[in-house]
């Protein structure tokens, strides 16, 4: 009975998922060109506010990888490391199921026989108070159940070591794109080192499809962990230390993940969004990010408030200050979300956020600067022009 429960529960997730995924694979292969790109990497330059509001959806339901129940499932890999882990996982799972069935089988058998034998003894009579045959042990049997597990352990170890060496590479794969990921309480900073000027963005990482991405992981405060299950296993971001990991998105779309090492109050709201774009789209995005922000004269008032209220101490726009404590806002309006991936970016939310971030994200590290309504409107309008 226990076996059934166990199998069903893990089976639902384990066995159903790969089938689904392989079907998707097939579909994707068949309809290769029209894969819908992730939310447009290049925003309309005029970027009027109303326009943005309408366009921003938190995640495009048609984008293939974000479908149904599997948005963060480890069973639907779209990248070599996570795929290899899934294979290994199935193997180990199968071995474990095998052991499980054998052990529980013997247990059930022992129970059935034991109860039957007790009943039989009870029936046979009160005359013999005799206990069942006393068996102290058996060397050969005990040797057997020492040796067999040892062999299994040997196999498991070999498989594991092999996979570790495949995935845990110490230097970037050829042609890899390097991205520096910096964890902050409770948001992500992504830096794209590049001769043509470093691009800095937050919480939403864009990567090209089909090219290995080499992540350099650092932390600004406490330990975080970068985990996008469909792309790769997790790796910690540790202050005073640099870690590396890699993945290669095989299909365009949005991949979700989140911080996986407890890092304080808002650990739960430290979400990651990885946008895998077709290479051209990605280049376009990178170019757009590299451009200085638009200087829209209509929002001069907002820009003034922004500077006056010391927003600049923590945020930078176009390198106007070296505020590094909060996310870089140069191209804020090109993002889909704020507050590390869980608040859709629209006028209403942005205004509420600036008014009092703690209302939306309790305990977060941005204070409410107590702007009045007019100032709020001005700053919000200003920020929405930054795309």
């Amino acid at each position: 009975m226990i076996a059934i429960v166990f199998c069903i529960a893990l089976g639902v997730a384990g066995m159903a998922a790969p089938v689904e995924a392989s079907q998707e694979d097939a579909n994707a292969a068949a309809a290769a060109p029209p894969v819908p790109p992730a939310p447009a990497p290049v925003r309309q330059p005029d970027g009027s506010v109303a326009d943005l509001d309408a366009k921003l959806v938190i995640c495009d339901p048609d984008a293939p990888p974000v479908s149904g129940a599997g948005v963060t499932s480890i069973f639907e890999p779209e990248s070599p490391p996570s795929r290899e882990i899934r294979e290994l996982g199935f193997l180990v799972f199968a071995i474990c199921i095998g052991i499980f069935v054998v052990v529980q089988g013997f247990l059930v058998l022992a129970i059935v026989r034991g109860v039957r034998s007790r009943r039989a003894a009870g029936r046979e009579g009160e005359g013999g108070s005799a206990e069942p045959t006393q068996v102290y042990g058996s060397v050969p049997i005990e040797v057997a159940w020492t040796v067999i597990p040892t062999i299994i352990v040997f196999v498991l170890t070999m498989v594991t070591i092999r996979t570790i060496r495949d995935i845990d590479i110490t230097s970037p794969p050829e042609d890899a794109l390097e991205v520096i990921v910096i964890g902050h309480q409770w948001w992500w900073e992504f830096r794209y080192p590049d001769e043509a000027g470093e691009v800095v963005t937050a919480n939403e990482m864009h990567v090209p499809v089909g090219r290995p991405i080499w992540l350099r992981l650092e932390s600004a405060d406490v330990i975080h962990s970068f985990w996008v299950p469909r792309l790769a296993g997790k790796m910690d971001l540790i202050p005073g230390r640099t870690n590396y990991t890699w993945f290669e998105a095989e299909r365009a779309g949005i991949y979700l993940g989140q911080c996986a090492e407890y890092c304080g109050t808002q650990h739960a709201h430290m979400l990651i969004r990885v946008y895998a774009d077709e290479p051209e789209a990605f280049d376009a995005w990178l170019d757009a990010q590299r451009k200085p922000g638009v200087e829209d004269p209509t929002v001069a008032e907002g820009r003034r408030v922004f500077a006056e209220y010391a927003c600049l101490n923590c945020h930078t726009v176009d390198g106007t200050s070296d505020g590094m404590f909060g996310p870089n806002l140069t191209h804020l309006a090109s993002r889909d979300t704020i507050g590390s991936g869980f608040i859709p970016l629209n006028r209403e939310n942005l205004r509420a956020w600036i008014d009092d971030p703690a209302q939306l994200k309790i305990g977060c590290n941005m204070p409410s600067l107590k702007l009045d309504a007019a100032e709020l409107d001005a700053v919000t309008d200003y920020l929405l022009t930054l795309n």
């Binding site: 480890i74 102290y136 230390r241 650990h267």
Partner: protein, 535 residues
Amino acid sequence: MQWAISVDHKKLALMYIGAGLCFFLVAGLEAAFMRLQLARAENDVIDPETFNQLFTMHGTTMVFLVGMPILLGFGNYLIPLMVGARDMAFPRLNAFGFWLFIFGGLLLYFSYLGADGLYGAGTAPDVGWFAYAPLTSRTFSRGNSTDYWILGIMVSGFGSMTTAINFIATILCMRCPGMTLMRMPMIGWMMLVVAFLVLVAIPILTGAQIMLLLDRTLGAHFFDPETQGSAILWQHLFWFFGHPEVYILILPAFGFVSEIMPTFSRKVLFGYPLMVAATVGIGFISLGVWAHHMFVVGLGPVLDSFFGATTFLISVPTGIKIFNWLGTMWGGRLHFTTPMLFVTGFVAMFVIGGLTGIMLATVPLTWQLSDSYFVVGHFHYVLFGGTVFGIFGAIFYWFPKATGRLLDERLGKWTFWLLFIGFTLTFMPMHVSGALGMPRRIYTYEADRGWEIWNLISSIGVPVQMAGVAIFLWNAIRALRRGPVAGDDPWDAWTLEWGTTSPPPEWNFDRIPTCTSARPLWDRKNPEDPDAYYE
């Protein structure tokens, strides 16, 4: 008052167990609140700060103030009785250890009360039960909450260490005539190894906590990344303690199974010597696997492989135990009393927990599953399905010895089935939600991830467990008042504690027993065919 000044190992043991059960209710309630919050996506019954305190206090309490004291309490109760001694080797030290545990626990919980008015005591710790640096530094953890965590655990840790010393001295020096080490009840071996592990592991934690305390109060730089300090050092020290700790939490339960299973199978324990060897083996191997909790910190392929391999290896001695229990049941005449139900459940559930442990030891798989709900599922299977089931089995088994009264069997079976079903409902789905990408220690989660249903099932399991626990409490209170008188040896068992009255006199045995085999009472009951001839 009588109890407060007592140095009698039995009284102290009962206090250990009683206090542990009280803490169990508290920590269980904390868990219930967590499950309430997590029942739905984007729920806001509980704010993030409180949630973080809840799981920290839940984990800390369950490990240090529930598991350890109850198991050490059983050790206290059983060791002198089972080896035929009048008391522990150092009875006063024993009392001292017990009270340190109590005061340490109270100090930890004082953090809830000690609001800002009381010298900035502030609130309960919220750094998780393994308190990773640098989240525990003054910069990221203001106020005194983390200091409470350190001190509470440290003080009760001193208590555990003194108890361990006592165990070792008692087992080595106080056995009754004829009781060689290889005739000692299995539980004695388990407790010996546990005591050894306590003496190796807890001091390391204490040392690390002293360092952390120096960091926080005197401005030292042990775990401070700003000055080339290492955040990983804490993890190494903590887990060097932490992994043996989980074996400290399971070995006594193994001992319970090894005593209860033979009695109700009416058969001698299968393969005693190998069992001893496996226990000692587990003790040693468990000192060399700690970094399997650190597979995601980037130790590099070599260390990862090494620790993966040692971790796999531990399944061999553990498997030996499982198989030997099966061998004990095999061909026996099984009496499914409540204790037997619990230990059978133990074997079944522990195997699941152990096998998910094997999956976690598969390093690349852990890169996905570490710090996800899969891990939460794993360790509740071993801790609840293992330790807690073992404890319940032991309570039902030795309750008549300690009180002279029998617990009600029908209620006992209700307790078992409710706990079993509730437990499976709560913790089985966690494996799925973890594999679907749900990290642990999050106070809320997004609705679009496909995690809701699994979390809902998890939460539904909690009231079922609560019912089981409540029935048990009712059962115990009722039995204390007017349970049927048990007699000295209600289960017709074979170890020495059943050879004295129930409850035993303060001096345990009117005359010190002598031991002729691993089952001294079998020999007395069956002089025509004693074990002594076959050992």
